[in-house]
């Protein structure tokens, strides 16, 4: 399948989601999309315009939305539930746990505006713990696209997976960094750059900053392998084991709390199998705050300059 967006294009990952929904709507009559009054923000309105009969707005009622989606899945429908990540994973956590995951229902949950990207709205709206919550659930799979192409592929593939999936989207327009022949595979991570001086693991749209940081580091003679861990559950344990034995430094960078995010997940894997020293740029036990996404990236150490400086300081 050929990806729809060109490398270097700048657009929000939710656009990839919205586009995939339209394609699914045309190809699969069982796909139904639900939103909780945020359809214009999440891009589910693109589906709603083309397939109004298969779009359900539940109003601002996330708990009922997840339950309704569960009921749809019991009658062969493939529901995509969409709203802000912070609300769907937080407010409807019990519905996702006790209804969707406990019965292993075929419900796709898409949390938009993940991480700091919702910026000025502040800490109440920034999902920084959504992965921790979803990762705690048996049967759930978790995908975090780095760009609109990956979001598009993940959405199409999620419709083929039988069982619950959580996809984390972001608000801000970010650069497309996947190549035209890119293919997402659940449980298989992909390297975006290769280098001998260590590894950077990341998920979600911070990838475009990491690519810029890698250029800055290269100017200083440091070349690291950059791995897009967009499949958090299932985790690619094979690659973790391969890079763990090299003894090279491993950096984990994520717009998510340290507690329960990729850093915790990878650290747990290594602690149980082969203790390995890790470095992290993540958010340590605090809520976000208002500010432009750029300002927040700088404040929390996620800007390309800050990432490069941190890695340089650690390695030199």
């Amino acid at each position: 399948m050929k990806v729809p967006f060109k490398k270097g294009e700048v657009l929000p990952v939710r656009d990839g989601y919205g586009r995939a929904l339209i394609e699914l709507g045309a190809s699969n009559p069982q796909v139904v999309v639900l939103d909780a009054d945020l359809a214009t923000s999440t891009r589910s309105n693109w589906f709603a315009e083309k397939f109004p009969q298969r779009f359900i707005d539940t109003g601002i009622a996330e708990q009922n939305m997840v339950g309704v989606a569960a009921g749809l899945s019991l009658n062969r429908k493939i529901p995509f539930v969409t709203t802000y990540g912070v609300f769907v994973t937080g407010r409807a956590f019990d519905q996702i746990r006790n209804t969707v995951c406990y019965s292993n229902l075929n419900v796709k949950i898409v949390g938009s505006h993940g991480g700091l990207s919702v910026g000025p709205d502040g800490g109440s709206h920034q999902a920084l713990e959504d992965i921790a919550l979803m990762n705690s659930l048996p049967n759930m799979q978790i995908f975090c696209p780095v760009d609109a192409n990956e979001a598009w592929q993940m959405t199409l593939q999620a419709a083929e997976i039988r069982g619950p999936v959580y996809i984390r989207l972001a608000r801000e327009a970010t650069e497309v960094i996947t190549e035209s022949d890119y293919v997402f595979q659940p449980g298989r991570v992909k390297s975006l750059l290769r280098g001998e001086d260590g590894y950077i693991l990341f998920h979600s749209v911070i990838g475009s900053e990491i690519m810029k940081a890698s250029e800055l580091l290269a100017e200083q003679g440091l070349n690291l392998t950059v791995i897009n861990c967009s499949t958090i559950k299932p985790l690619d344990r094979t690659v973790l084991d391969e890079i763990g034995v090299t003894g090279k430094p491993i950096f984990i960078i994520e717009e998510h709390l340290l507690n329960g995010g990729l850093t915790s997940i990878v650290a747990t894997h290594y602690a149980l199998h082969k203790p390995t020293k890790l470095y992290t740029i993540s958010i340590d036990d605090r809520f976000g705050e208002s500010g432009s996404p750029g300002e927040l990236y700088d404040r929390y150490g996620f800007s390309a300059e800050k990432i490069a400086r941190c890695i340089h300081k650690t390695l030199r």
Binding site: V32, A61, G67, G71, N75, R76, Q95
Partner: protein, 270 residues
């Protein structure tokens, strides 16, 4: 009038005996709210629902969702009596490796449409089922049994707005109005009245019936076919119905009888 349904009386008595039996054997479980729903469950499984125990996943079946999942003993007794699984399974309720989990689990027990236990959720699930059946122009109906204490959950009122908005006339909700929840009388814990007015204001067809009368249950449930509005049937019931010392006592919400109490209960249910 109830005499027309004499066969249901004997089934209901067996269902009650099974409820007591399995909770006694398990040493724990929820007798009060299981016993209050016996006539509703019996009328559904043995008169109203179109279902086929030989083919539990028959797409043409009506759906029954036990939103008050703690009444699992009632559901298991109904399913077993219908023939979904052998009687021997009832002896293993709440035991290790049993298909009969403490609260119903759809991946373990045939005939359980979806796992329930966290209150309020079965109702939303039923709304989704009803929406999909309406969309697909299927004739199936969807029935839900909710507890009255369960109505405290905010999610219930989200779903109560949803069903009339999407004109889910194929959805029927029974409220097992036994007026007791764990901490006591529903009106003291968190007042529900005027309950019928609340549902009417939300756009539902509302009926109030004696929840232990087969004729009233069946007349109420049959009445709505071809309506555009969902129906809620507020069924006045007695918690612990059928066992004298359990009736109207919130202490029997989630407690197993002693040997002596078990023997007396079974004697009363002869």
């Amino acid at each position: 009038m109830d005499k027309d349904y004499s066969h249901l009386f004997s089934i209901a008595r067996r269902i009650r005996r099974k409820i007591i039996e399995i909770i006694f054997r398990a040493g724990s479980g929820h007798p009060g709210g299981s016993l209050s729903g016996v006539e509703i469950g019996t009328a559904l499984f043995f008169h109203i629902l179109n279902h086929n125990p030989e083919y539990p996943k028959d797409p043409k079946r009506d759906r029954f969702i036990l939103s008050k999942g703690h009444a699992a003993p009632l559901l298991y007794a109904l399913l077993q009596e219908s023939g979904y699984f052998p009687e021997e399974w009832l002896t293993r309720f709440r035991k290790l490796d049993s298909p009969l989990q403490g609260h119903p689990h759809s991946l373990k027990c045939p005939g359980v449409e979806v796992s329930t236990g966290s209150l309020g959720q079965g109702f939303s699930i039923a709304c989704g089922l009803a929406w999909s059946m309406k969309y697909d122009r299927q004739k199936n109906r969807v029935f839900v049994l909710m507890g009255d204490g369960e109505l405290d959950e905010g999610q219930v009122w989200e779903a109560a707005m949803f069903a009339p908005h999407y004109k889910l006339g194929n959805l029927t909700v029974f409220i097992d109005r036994n007026r007791l929840q764990i901490d006591g009388n529903t009106e003291k814990v968190m007042a529900l009245e005027p309950l019928a007015d609340k549902w009417k204001a939300f756009g539902w067809d509302v009926l109030q019936i004696d929840g232990h009368s087969f004729s009233e249950i069946i007349n109420a449930a049959v009445r709505v076919e071809r309506s555009n509005r969902p129906l809620v049937i507020i069924a006045d019931t007695i918690k612990g119905k059928g066992v004298s010392f359990m009736e109207n006592d919130p202490g029997w919400h989630g407690k197993s009888p002693s040997q002596e109490e078990y023997e007396q209960a079974m004697m009363e249910l002869e």
